[in-house]
Symmetry: C2
Subunit: 360 residues, 2 copies
């Protein structure tokens, strides 16, 4: 609603991808890498995950210009076992490194049935669903673990230490929508906390501590030196630690509070780490049988009696897939803020603004 | 506290294991299988997870006697890919099937670096941590996914459909305690709901629906045709579906509401399914380096400033490991209810009661 009110333009996805790609080329990325980053960001917008969409372009450009990302990374892929490879991202853009690494996990899974790929020296890689969708589109089950810069404390702590670290899984179905789960470890979006503070509203209990480590529902106490808590209490905190172990410790990336914040750490590379696992869905039965079983699960689930306030039961990722179909057809709405910033970047880079392209 | 008050006996772990093993032998399990089930249950008691300990013996015995479990299963292990095997548990006891399947995942990981094993025709397999501890004790990273009988609705539903399905991970460290996360998808224990109802107390918000699908904090509304919700709202619901996909759909086991309840479904086998993944921790770096990095993560985490009400920051599984050391030294406390039921079973089976053994 407030989102709709502030829409400044609706842009066709392919044109937005080309425009954003041109911005990254202007900043010095090679064409292929520029378009990989653009594709990742625009896919997030297509799916309605605007927090991970082209909104990120100015920060990404700033990091590239300051030399914090390697424009021409020498990404080294080393197969270390029958069904496992390592990827050293050489501080390339997260989407470039992630796309290359998932391609390797897909190769391993197609050739051997299973693929495990750990990635070090990566960066903020956008919407985690992007990578498991890559596996899904190759006909595979995909899993993506990652770590991230400090955002929430360990269980019993009061300062940010583990990341919001999205956890993502994708599983193909047949006629029914595929299962695409992409869940951050956090519940609160920082933007919503500021809005609540401005309005004098409270935030739900169990989601934040104040600066002295006491539970709070006051958004100002959270902003003023407090911390967000992970979802699901002690369980979410345990999963947050798992993300740092599998994404960071295991892969060889930074961990334990040392991953750089993409928006705040401008003195060094982030050194984010990820772990991808791909499985062939027909490892244990013919593919048609697997797909029929997925369809059966989903059909049964959707036929369940509904809770108050729900018109239908959705598969994780189904809402985003619907949004993607809509936005592929009718375009991606951009808020005035994002639209203006993108055109400012275009002006500074000497490339045609998206507005002009839209009119063309 | 109330737990302590009702302790009828404190029993040495080895003796309890032998006693429980004898009960299963008397019910017709072969010695090896009987001791595997006993080891799984007693390990849960050792770790303080008494809900998954010898408390389960009467139900397990009832199912065996009614022919719902195969006493002499022909467990078939088939390697289907370089680093993947399938296990058909032939309706053996869950602990017997699970132990065999994790041994296969360990073999694959030791030989190839990674191991993926899907299991069908299994049963209630007790504490999920038991299997990832098996991986841990072989020096590996272990993951265990499983499905379970219906306990909570899909997101937007109001009737139980997905299981509480514990998700478990274990990662070795060096000098520091290993990471052992074992988390059910549910928050409420059914026993605590009955206690709250008796006392006229409320349960926390966000954890239950009444029979018409409205959120409730009244335990009586939950008991009277309502349903528990998974932890973490929509995220926990998504993970619950993932458990049914990886444990059930992928493996070839039952899924989508059809897994039998071990305590309530006595007309057919459960056909539970699991998925185990093992990874060598030295896939991407020398083992010493990996362990030093895990130690570093844990040391940093434990040094974090603490939230109100916390004396220390613990690694997931650390509390249970401490409990295990204590109980290995000083014995396992059994409540009067459990103690009496075990001795009733012994009497019915014509074997010496645990009381007598304790005195011996």
């Amino acid at each position: 609603m407030s989102e709709q009110a502030s829409v400044a333009a609706v842009v066709e996805a392919g044109m937005l991808r080309r425009f954003v790609g041109d911005l990254f080329v202007a900043a010095g990325l090679p064409e292929e890498g520029a378009m990989q980053v653009a594709a990742c960001l625009v896919r997030a917008n297509l799916r309605g995950v605007d927090t991970h969409g082209v909104f990120r372009v100015p920060t990404y450009l700033k990091r590239i210009r300051q030399g914090l990302n390697n424009r021409h990374p020498n990404i080294v892929v080393s197969q270390v076992a029958h069904a496992a490879s390592q990827v050293d991202g050489d501080n390339g853009m997260g989407a470039v490194v992630g796309t290359r690494a998932m391609a390797e996990a897909i190769r391993l899974a197609c050739e051997t049935g299973t693929g495990v790929v750990a990635i070090k020296h990566s960066n903020h890689y956008g919407m985690a669903a992007y990578y498991v969708l890559q596996a899904l589109e190759a006909g595979l089950i995909g899993m993506a673990f990652t770590n991230a810069s400090p955002a929430s404390p360990p269980w019993g702590g009061r300062k940010p230490f583990f990341g919001t670290s999205p956890l993502a899984f994708a599983v193909p179905a047949g006629e029914q929508p595929p299962f695409v789960l992409d869940m951050a470890m956090s519940v609160l979006a920082r933007g919503n906390v500021y809005v609540a503070a401005q309005r004098g509203e409270m935030i739900p209990p169990g989601l934040a501590l104040d600066s002295s480590g006491r539970p709070t529902t006051d958004p100002r106490a959270l902003i003023d030196g407090g911390t967000m808590l992970p979802f699901g209490g002690v369980k979410g905190a345990g999963l947050s630690m798992l993300m740092d172990i599998l994404g960071g410790v295991f892969s060889g990336a930074s961990f334990g509070g040392e991953v750089g914040n993409p928006h705040a750490t401008f003195d060094r590379p982030q050194n984010v780490g990820h772990l991808f696992i791909c499985l062939r869905p027909d490892l244990y039965m013919p593919l048609d049988t697997f797909k029929a079983r997925m369809d059966e699960l989903i059909v049964r689930m959707k036929a369940q009696p509904r809770a108050e306030g729900f018109d239908e039961i959705l598969v994780p990722g189904e809402r985003e897939a619907r949004r993607e179909r809509e936005r592929r057809a009718s375009g991606i709405p951009l808020t005035a803020d994002v639209f203006d910033k993108l055109n400012q970047e275009a002006g500074a880079s000497g490339i045609a603004p998206i507005e002009a392209r839209r009119a063309a």
